[in-house]
Amino acid sequence: MTVRVQTEDFDVGFEISQLRKMRKDTGAVVSFVGQVRDLNEGDSVSQLTLEHYPGMTERSLSLIIGQAKSRWDIFDALIIHRVGTLEPTDQIVLVAVSGAHRGEAFKACEFIMDYLKTEAPFWKKEVTQSGERWVEAKQTDDAARERWTTTHESIE
């Protein structure tokens, strides 16, 4: 399991390749790359600053991977999340999950993202034409996370 919180950019191809080659019986790597959008809530965004809670961030991301591993038959998972100041089209986050088969890897990867969005202590502040503002948490993210508890069976 790998969890990294860093200001530097990351190399998606390298990370996926490392995860893929870790085992010769790996059949699938599902990954998610998040990018800074130039648009949020209808306003154009020129910059984004990510703050986090050092220590708790790493702990919560590790716990999320642990939960994913206990729920699905996956081999390994990786989370890299950037902090600091970013611009549109910059990469923010990479989640990658390896496994023997695709179904479990898809579910685990989406689960990790949904939990990361609602449990990992990161906060975004964005710069728009009208100044700086804190990004508000979205109800759709809470709903996405809830799916894994309330309608768990129908998702699987």
């Binding site: 998040g34 990510l50 703050e51 986090h52 809670y53 220590g55 708790m56 702990r59 919560s60 999340h81 923010i92 986050v93 993202m113 990361l116 969005k117 609602t118 449990e119 990992a120 202590p121 990161f122 906060w123 975004k124 502040k125 804190w134 990004v135 508000e136 948490a137 979205k138």
Partner: protein, 85 residues
């Protein structure tokens, strides 16, 4: 009871505190009581911790709710709902 406190994001910005060490009165034993205790510092504290803003709390890096008990030596943090990813 001594604790270490952290504030993040909008709370840190508005309260103008990122961290502080506190020696709590004997009756401040839960997150809710700690919020009420801090709120007594004045307007902006009350607004931020007991107002309309959703505040989440963590004890020793674990998300907890208002009823959670605080123990001596704990690291307690207050912050808005998270917005990473």
């Amino acid at each position: 009871m001594k604790i270490k406190l952290f504030y993040f994001a909008r709370l840190k910005e508005t309260l103008k505190y990122s961290t502080e060490d506190l020696d709590l009165p004997a009756d401040v034993v839960t997150i809710l009581k700690l919020k009420a205790f801090l709120a007594k510092r004045g307007d902006v504290w009350g607004e931020m911790l007991m107002g309309k803003l959703k505040v989440r709390a963590a004890i020793n890096h674990e998300l907890v709710d208002d009823k959670a008990a605080i123990a001596d030596g704990d690291e307690v943090a207050f912050f808005p709902p998270v917005t990473g990813g």
